[in-house]
């Protein structure tokens, strides 16, 4: 499998950031090499400089950011010294790139076929008909169903996975020697991610392409990498073959990252209370869009007849891919959205039937933690006010609410002296703690958490999950935990319900559902978790 000489050699490269950034260099003295027919993964969390690496190689650094030291050798040429014109002929033709979000990387106003054809048109002198047939063969190479139709489609008409396939087809159109993939599967569902990873592997082997694969997920690394480079704060902390690094990590940071990606094995089940706290039965939510007086409207069944019960003190995970209706369900439960039918019984009151007024009065019983730690806090409010505003709305005197808020800061592991700062002065994990404190300020019985950790780095994810686990024991919380990540669900949930297309296809105790899945979709989800055996068996 291994090969002749390296395609790409990065030699002690440093990239300087503009003045006023949080550090002087995005990357400091990083060396790595990628050989023909080899997949090298750069792993690191946000801020590690891994994406800057890709931009530096492509010479597409943002304004004010410059490489100030080192060389980038690409088949014998130093890219740092190449002219702008040379770089243009290299980009796309010899080094191609696949981005994280295919929707923003594609032009929404032009068809897929057009955009792939454009690459061929710019770099080769092929005739129109020939370009067309090349486009179709590329699209069939990336296994897009019905290539002629996909070529005529606009980006929004394809699914996320198909768009990413189209991006890969475009990247491979000119048989590049090096493919740089910057988090290409992060925005995708697990099952789609598994397919795309398989596709990249397959194409790479067939064409002997060198691949530089940037990711934050050690599961993905286990799935695809030949060699691994681990980066932290712009420095390479560890590198080696995938086997070495995964089985025998030497650096503490690598060990921490790997520990943050635990196997999908549920911890021993806790004893659950017999007392039912929350009972859903037959919850339905249907969206209608367009149409006139109800005729010809597009109907989306977001949630179809969902029933389950949440025992007191238990954590119920609702898992599923995007579009499965899990977020809609969460918002129905807490009545941000009005369900069309069904009942949501909490403490003898049917939340599905309550008026807005009654809900405002009863919100103390049920609170929500949101997904995006950046969007879920009012940017103009101090952290302490954000936490205290709930109790104040419900009639607690301001002084008392503020002092309680300070205690909550301590409870969620924040420094109470930071209470007067604005949200943007906190990191993502800290903001999520503020969001949690805000929800806990009302002392709810039920906490609805909508993907509370999916916007966070893996190591921060682990911290927040530990916090949630300890809080639920101390406060006797019952939690509905929405997530797309089965590994996260396995860590924290006593019970899981697997959702697909608005229906709960399987539910039960976590270790049963994940250990002996009954439904084909649950099995597909579990198989799709990147990392194969690495993810399923405990790490040494």
């Amino acid at each position: 499998m291994s090969s002749t000489g390296p395609i790409l050699t990065v030699d002690r490269l440093s990239v300087r950031l503009p003045k006023g950034a949080d550090r002087s260099h995005a990357i400091t003295e990083v060396s790595l090499s990628v050989a023909e027919n080899e997949i090298v993964c750069i792993v690191g969390e946000s801020g590690s400089g891994k994406s800057m690496m890709a931009n530096a190689i492509m010479r597409l650094l943002p304004q004010g950011v410059t490489t100030d030291h080192g060389r980038i050798l690409f088949v014998g040429r130093d890219l740092c010294a190449a002219s702008a014109a040379e770089m243009r002929s290299i980009r796309g033709a010899e080094i191609a790139m696949v981005f994280q979000e295919p929707m923003t990387a594609l032009n929404p106003l032009r068809t897929i076929g057009d955009q792939i054809g454009e690459v061929l048109d710019i770099h080769t002198g092929l005739a129109k008909a020939e370009i067309r047939s090349r486009v179709l063969s590329l699209l069939s190479d990336v296994h897009i169903p019905d290539p002629p139709r996909a070529a005529k489609a606009y980006p929004h008409e394809l699914s996320g996975g198909q768009r990413q396939r189209a991006m890969i087809a475009m990247a491979l159109a000119l048989d590049p020697k090096l493919l740089i993939a910057d988090e290409p599967t992060t925005a995708l569902d697990v099952t789609t991610q598994a397919q795309i990873l398989k596709l990249i592997r397959e194409l790479q082997q067939r064409r002997n392409t060198a691949v530089l694969f940037i990711t934050h997920d050690f599961g993905v690394v286990a799935e695809i990498a030949d060699r691994v480079v681990v980066m932290q704060h712009g420095v390479v902390v560890e590198h080696g073959t995938a086997r070495e690094v995964l089985r025998n990590p030497r650096h503490a940071y690598t060990q921490q990252l790997i520990a943050a990606v635990p196997p999908v094995a549920a911890p021993p089940p806790r004893r659950l209370s017999d007392q039912t706290l929350l009972a859903l039965s037959g919850v339905v939510k249907t969206y209608r869009a367009g149409g006139f007086l109800g005729r010809g409207a597009r109907v989306t069944h977001a949630v179809k007849d969902v029933s389950f019960t949440l025992p007191k003190g238990a954590t119920l995970g609702i898992v599923g891919e995007s579009g499965s209706g899990k977020s809609t369900l969460a918002r129905c439960i807490i009545r941000l959205i009005d369900p069309d039918a069904g009942s949501i019984l909490l403490d003898g009151h049917d939340w599905a039937l309550m008026s807005r007024r009654e809900i405002r009065q009863r919100t103390q019983q049920m609170q929500m933690v949101f997904q995006d730690p950046f969007a879920s806090l009012n940017p103009r409010r101090k952290a302490i006010d954000l936490v205290a505003q709930g109790p104040i709305v419900h009639g607690t005197p301001r002084d008392k609410a503020l002092s309680e808020a300070r205690e909550l800061f301590q409870l969620v592991g924040l420094d109470p002296s930071a209470a007067d700062r604005l949200p943007h002065e906190f990191s993502g994990g800290q903001r999520q703690r503020i969001g949690l404190a805000r929800a806990l300020a009302l002392k709810p019985d039920v906490l609805v958490a909508d993907e509370p950790v999916s916007a966070l780095d893996v190591s921060v994810q682990a911290q927040v999950l530990r916090l949630l686990t300890s809080l639920r024991e101390r406060l006797g919380l019952s939690i509905i935990f929405i997530t797309h990540d089965l590994r996260v669900a396995a860590q924290i949930c006593d019970l899981v319900a697997v959702m697909k297309d608005g229906v709960v296809v399987e539910h039960g105790l976590t270790h049963q559902v994940f250990g002996t899945p009954q439904h084909a979709y649950t099995r597909a989800l579990l198989d799709a978790i990147p990392g194969g055996d690495f993810a399923r068996t405990p790490h040494p």
């Binding site: 918002r331 807490i334 941000l336 809900i359 405002r360 009065q361 919100t363 103390q364 049920m366 609170q367 929500m368 949101f370 997904q371 995006d372 969007a375 879920s376 806090l377 009012n378 940017p379 103009r380 505003q389 709930g390 709305v393 419900h394 969001g435 805000r438 929800a439 009302l442």
Partner: protein, 276 residues
């Protein structure tokens, strides 16, 4: 504070602020420098500027001191501009906030009304209002405010539409906040910066609208406004052009100052847009 620092880093914004302060200074000092009624006869008519030290900017066709009218006119223009802008922005923010927050039929009704106002040319509507309600200073100011509210309303509505579905607003809702609190304390402070910036444009237009009205001699003739002076100068435009030109320059400078300050505020409040 950062915004303030960014504001003073832009030369154009500082120039705008200086010009605006000069105009404000003129308005404040008018009473001390020209204590007499600016509309009273002061000397021979049509004295050219810089010929008689008593009338630095000359006199108009009925022998009134132009400099006195310019200084006192600054008061009127700023008053009309300020109050009309306040009226326009208040109505606009209220309509836009309610339409954007509630959506549905409320939004439909309010936006159709806004469009009804927008489809009529501003100035024609202003003429109608003045023709119906008379042309005292108060009615003119209110009329200018009433024709200027649709644009701030649309802007506020757009901001509310995008902000109301943000997670922090949903979080407020799950905490049990009533609608009024969500609108006023959660969404409005986040929606306001672009509206404040746009208020600069509204103010400039309001000053121009009043001047145009005065030029047609439809504004309040009993106050010394720049527009009135331009209107008077119309009769002697070909020979004694300075009668119209001097207040014209005053309007130009004021509108320029207000626009520059508005632009400066925009860049200071939205620093990311500036880095293009």
């Amino acid at each position: 504070m950062d915004a303030l620092k960014r504001y003073f880093r832009s030369p154009a914004a500082v120039l705008g602020l200086v010009l605006l302060l000069i105009v404000v200074g003129m308005a404040i000092s008018a009473g001390y420098l020209y204590p007499r009624d600016p509309l009273a006869l002061a000397g021979r008519p049509l004295v050219w500027p810089f010929t008689n030290p008593r009338f630095l900017l000359g006199t108009d066709n009925s022998g009134r001191d132009i400099a006195a009218q310019i200084f006192h006119g600054a008061r009127i223009s700023l008053l009309i501009g300020g109050v009309a802008t306040l009226i326009a922005v208040t109505i606009g923010v209220m309509v836009g906030a309610i339409a954007g927050y509630y959506g549905g039929w409320i939004d439909n009704i309010l936006m159709r009304i806004t469009e009804a106002f927008q489809t009529l040319p501003n100035f024609v509507l202003l003429l109608v209002l003045v023709a119906v309600f008379g042309s005292t200073l108060t009615t003119v100011t209110i009329a200018v405010g009433i024709v200027s509210w649709p644009a701030p309303a649309r802007l506020t509505r757009a901001e509310f539409l995008s902000l109301r579905s943000r997670e922090f607003v949903q979080a407020g809702r799950t905490l049990g906040m009533p609608d009024a609190q969500l609108i006023l304390r959660e969404i409005l402070p986040n929606a306001l910066p672009p509206v404040i910036v746009y208020a600069g444009v509204v103010m400039a237009v309001a000053i121009l609208l009043e001047s145009a009205l005065a030029f047609l001699r439809l504004s309040d003739a009993n106050v010394a406004s720049w527009g009135n002076l331009i209107g008077l100068g119309r009769d002697v435009l070909r020979v004694q052009w300075y009668v119209s030109a001097i207040p014209g320059v005053a309007i130009l400078i004021t509108v320029l100052a207000v626009s520059l300050v508005g632009q400066g505020l925009n860049d200071a409040l939205n620093p990311r847009l500036k880095q293009r």
